[in-house]
Amino acid sequence: MNIKMKSIFILIALMAFNIQSCDKFLEEDLVSDVSGSSYYTTPAGLEDAVDATYSSLKYIHSNERAHSLTIFGTDTYTNGADGGHKSFNYYDNGLNSASSQIREMWDELYRGINQANAVINRSQAIEGLDPDILSQRLAEVRFLRAYYYFVLVRQFGDVHLTLEETVGAEVEANKTPQETIYETAIVPDLEFAIATLPDSQSDYGRATKPAAENLLGLVKLTRGYQTFAKADDFSEAERLFGNVIDDYSFALEPDMGKLWDQDNDKNKEIIFSVQYGTDEILNGTEGNRSHLYFLMEYDKEKGMIRDIANGRPFKRFRPTQYLLDVWGANRDNDNRYDLTYKHVWISNNPKSIPVWEQANVDAGAKNADGSPAVVGQPRWAVGDTAIFMPGPGREAKWTPTKRLQTRYVVYLPSEYTERIFGHIGKFIDPRRPAIQWERGSRDWFIMRLGDTYLLRAEARIKQGNTTDAADDINMVRVRAAWPGKEAVMMITPGDVTMDFLLEERARELDAEQERWYTLARTGTLVDRVKLYNPLGAPNIDAHHIHRPIPQNQIDRTSGGYEQNCGYPGGPSCN
């Protein structure tokens, strides 16, 4: 019995040995990851939390959704052949609460806002960080929060407002009037940012005082049109834009081509831009994809094949006839069409070079070396021009006979289709490592001085000051003049109207993710789409001034969330 008992005690001891270390055994230590509660409390953690607040800028600018929500369904752009989000152009029943692009935009903006709220809330507990740096970082995230709310109210109208970080399962959401959001979030955040931020930052790309002034100017200009406008909104906007123009060292790039030179994306015209790099690790999944969307289907043309230099043509957005007409009128004086669009494609595919036909020979076509064309011989060689798109206002010289005589293929605006159309060259990104590569490395310009001049002109027009507005408009027009044409480009106060300004913006800011906002702000969206966008015209209606609330938000909010007026499930607009 003794032996038995002994062995039992040994067993119990063995078990007890295991038990002692139980608590430690079941402890969970984070190794690969960090948590907010441990990391955001350190100075390095707070800096990383601030950097994270910036990252939302990429998600809301670099991709197709950013373009769909700002470029489609305007007077200047309509859809190309491809893409699944043409409802933004048609304003048809596909523009509904199930749209993934609307949902993704909504989700990311609130992620950015929550991140900003977290930095602001948690900064109180930080020790060991220089107070000046701390307040500067706070000003940066308040600038970003204001920007994210500003995008929200312009896209959706009345939305959920919170200035506190979400802790725990938050299933409630409010629908705060835009007026309150301007009043209690956007404007105070930007005022704080203006008061706190430096004129420039050693880290290029951080928010600065002029960026905050420029944004607050746009905020006040936008509010100035609203029913809840403040009396001084337009004058305040003018003042703020004036500060940006006068108080710092910003200047227009003398050559607009240089403005879009990829090697020059830190130029002196840029007030605030989303940062992208050529290092893929820094870009993550969110490189700048704007190089994809405005290209026509050159790669199916004769003598051509897709390559890095010419880009990957997604054929999403193509200029409307209206935009072509706006350009075509004045190309002899205005260089911006020529600097914005691509005209010539150099043949890179020997397999599909076409041959001369009898009609060409009959018309007297000649080879590159001047010898007469022979039926069945190739019309050109690799390295010669394959396609030429002269663009609007240049049709006259391309008579049928001349085209038969010409070696390369010519497309005139009258022949444009959803696949062949004016092809924007200013976003292309030849630094991409592969043909199919989507994540580009160009910075995306959110604010540049050319825009600021036109915005101040708008603020001045709204105050009846066409004289000074003309000066502002002339600043960008003179820059846009071909050499020697500066005087012709100048306008007089008598020329200044809102319509003229909108045309000028179309020329200056072609495809720069502002058109939908501009039309919505100035109350011209519905009229202009009806006039100039035949595909959107039959469907657009006053309620389209705001986007539908994403269905997920409605479904997941406790007690539901009211759909915007005019959309299925929402109230009717009055």
Binding site: G36, E170, D203, G205
Partner: protein, 1035 residues
Amino acid sequence: MLWILLICTPSFAAKDSFEGKESASLLNSAPLFFQADAIRGRIVDDAGAGIPGVNIIIKGTSNGTTSDAEGRYVLSLPSGFTDGTLVYSFIGFSTQEQAISGRSTIDVTLVSDVTALSEVVVVGYGTQEKRDVTASISSINADAISKVSTTNALESMKGQIAGVDVLQSNGRPGSTPTVTVRGRRSINASNDPLFVIDGVPMTSNTSTGTDGGISNSGSNPLNDFNPNDIASIEVLKDAAATAIYGSRGANGVVLITTKRGKSGKTTISYNGSYGVSQPFSKFPMMNGAQFADMKREAKRLSPLGVTGRTAWEGTIQPDANVFEDPVELNSATNGLSTDWQDLIFHNGSQSNHQVSANGGNEKTQFNIAIGYFNEDGTIDGMDFTKLTARINLDHQVSKRIKVGMSNQLTHSIKNNGSGSVMSEAVNQTPLGLPYDGQGNIIFLPISDGIRSNPLSELVPGKRIDEEKVDRIFSSAYVEAEIIEGLKYKFLIGTDLRYNTRGIFLGRFTNPQKNGDPAATYLNEANVGYTMENLITYNKLIGGKHNIGLTFLQSTSANNYENHITSVSGLPYESQKWYNIGTASTINFINSRFEKYSLASFMGRINYTFNGKYLLQATLRADGSSRLAPGNKWTNFPGLSAGWRVVDEPFMANINFLSDLKIRGSYGVVGNTSIDPYQTAGRLSKSVYSWDEANAAGFKLNEIPNPDLTWEKSATVDVGVDFGLFDGRLSGTFDYYVTNTTDLLLRRALPASSGYDLILSNIGATRTKGMELTLSANIVDSPGGFKWDADFNLAHYKEEIVDLAQRDPDGNKTDDVGNSWFIGQPIRVFYDYKKVGIWQVAEKDQAAAFMGAFPGEIKLADANGDGLFTPDDRVIIGSDIPSVYGGLNNRFAYKGFDFSFFLYYRLGYTLDSRFNSDQATMQSRYNNLNVDYWTIDNPTNSYPRPNLNQESPSYISTVRYEDGGFVKLRTITLGYNFPSSLTEKLGLSNLRIYVSAQNPKVWSSYTDFDPESINEISSGDIPSNKLFLGGINLTF
């Protein structure tokens, strides 16, 4: 709490054992009262070999002996026992009785008995006689497992066990099936059962995740094992049975017992088979002419001269305008058509070889086996090769101490092949041409920049996706019999799994499209261990009270780590992923570490009174590292009882009933199958830069949930086991209700919170189900003709009982955003209801109701309010079958055996993404050959093709189909050569057979083998039919 109980209980055990010792000595001294005589003899098997270790007992007493290594025995008889009867019993053989009738020498030949083997079932931490089992446990034996030639034993289980649902994923060699036991309970946590191999629970990381765009292979645990090594598989289904596995038991427990050595003559066996496979079906895509017609329709021009939605009544354009690409124009003009699927498919093959040796003496027994499995897919570059070795050893060190080991060594190579080949083959235009005039592959058959030639994916060395696994699953035990009936066992098991995955994308492959080559290299290591101390005590008291006690203390932990690098711009292709430092761009680089641990205590009491009244109670306490501090520990009780009605005296006259047992059980089990670290509120990396300088940060990603605790499932199960007509018909019926509460729910949040979801313990589900298993010996004619049949059927209803949301009055509300509805199954398809296609006559109605045009999908106004709103979405169906199971028929005559096995799954909705993804109706890529609307063909099936859209509005509504099917899983004809012949060849057994697997399916869904994970997408490889022949040899 429980461990105090545990430390207390061994002292009870000690007390019992003390009494046990007393009674044992009483027994030992018993013979002293009698004058002994002796009986001698030899016990042999049907081959004439002596059987050691056979129990010989004088019927009605405890007096007996066992046979020696030669099978000889000497049994001392009490005087006067000349008329007694001796009982000879040994596991695996039919028990035999011999009347002494005055003999002094009795030689016995025992007949091996497969059914006798299955009378003992493995129950987790021990075995139990089947007659005593009170919980719901099903098992299949080696015979049934080896009937199906496959690399994964789960495939062999398919349809054989009521309530166990095994689904294959696709036809890619080495792909792993999923298994669910009695449906789902959990919405977000895993529904995979726990696998326990030779007593060691698998610790390996079975989750699948995504790192840098490549998904971790995940490891269906059984894929690394050789089905031929398995002696039996037991599935513990109800909570009383699984409660001993506590926190891991919620989804059922699959116990796998590998073959162990038997003492006696060493047997050498060889099993081999070779088969040819072919795709189950091709996808019914359009041919050239059909596709050309679709393109013409899609480019119809409206009276205003535009294509698109408004052009439905317009004119067809001339071919020169329709076919922009000269190759397509030429093919359309000249009637050319390419069937890309024909070009990529060919016959595959499967070979399976295993050699094993089994034997030993009374002290040491061994089973060693080496296996080779190879499957070549039906598309080039896809294959799976597995080498396995098993060494199982048991050794009796002394009278009371036994040691042993089980070792599984595996090396496997899986080539996944191209992930694009199938989608390129179904999407590529049939008007394109595969080869140029010189017979070279044309990389881009037409000028479309997206679609490449599927054949370019198959050029050797250009596209590789290779997974290599090395695994050592090994366990060792020491077992000591401290006193009679009291055993202590120490078990340590380790599971080491090393996995590498290399992906190489050459220049002319679909992802690279003439870009520089790219590669990804992933290394994963998983190291898990389990350590257990187990005490068992069995005691028969007073001849009527049989008590069994089990105590367990266990710890297990698992470490997982990985490293992944993904690059592009490799200078030369031959390096694959073996010199990635030479790449010009690093696209992604990451490493990760995960660890979790589990500590447990378990106690179990079995009590049987009079062999008729059965009772079992268990309690397990588990602590998991994955849960929040303060919530780590919970207890899981289980209680079951059984009544062997058939053994009651009042049943004695009911002759047709040979067995009847009524069982009932209740138990609670848990689920922590969530990824570790979910309670912490982890941050995720954010990307940004200051000019070209790194500005990566850390952003909020998860809401910390310090309250996270166990998801618990409580199950009530009542069952009846019965046998009729002398066991000719036997069966089992179970009814159960499982209530799962504190769901580990990934609760979706409104995005305005800044988050998508939070993992929390909210909500409840309920599953009610029934299972029926019948086995019948239908014919057993004296002429030698036998017909046996097994049938099983399972049915369950799953419903969500509670979710997070409440309406303003506090009532439960649906979670529409996640498609979770109170009272509905966990997974339902929630969408608009297609009622047809808008016809010309309905033009105005279409415009008014949906803003639609003729030829577009017409949806139901489900709520009848006259408006088209999101409220018109309805629940279309669910993926739960109304019944599923199998029917097995076996025939034998002389040496021939013939069997066929039908597997069925009926009454569920299949969400076939293929129906929508391959029917974009855009006519840019090839399309399913569907009946589409045109102004001349007013069908209600598919909408009008339209070049201007990437897919039609509401096309998802065409995806839902009745997925029910009956499948002929295997059909086999075999022949056992008679012993007269085999003996001449020096063999003890020789069987040859031919078999077909999956040769036929009956289903209303015709595009594909409907047995898939309920979602069929274009990247999947069709499943296979397999025709094979094989041989089983035993020396």
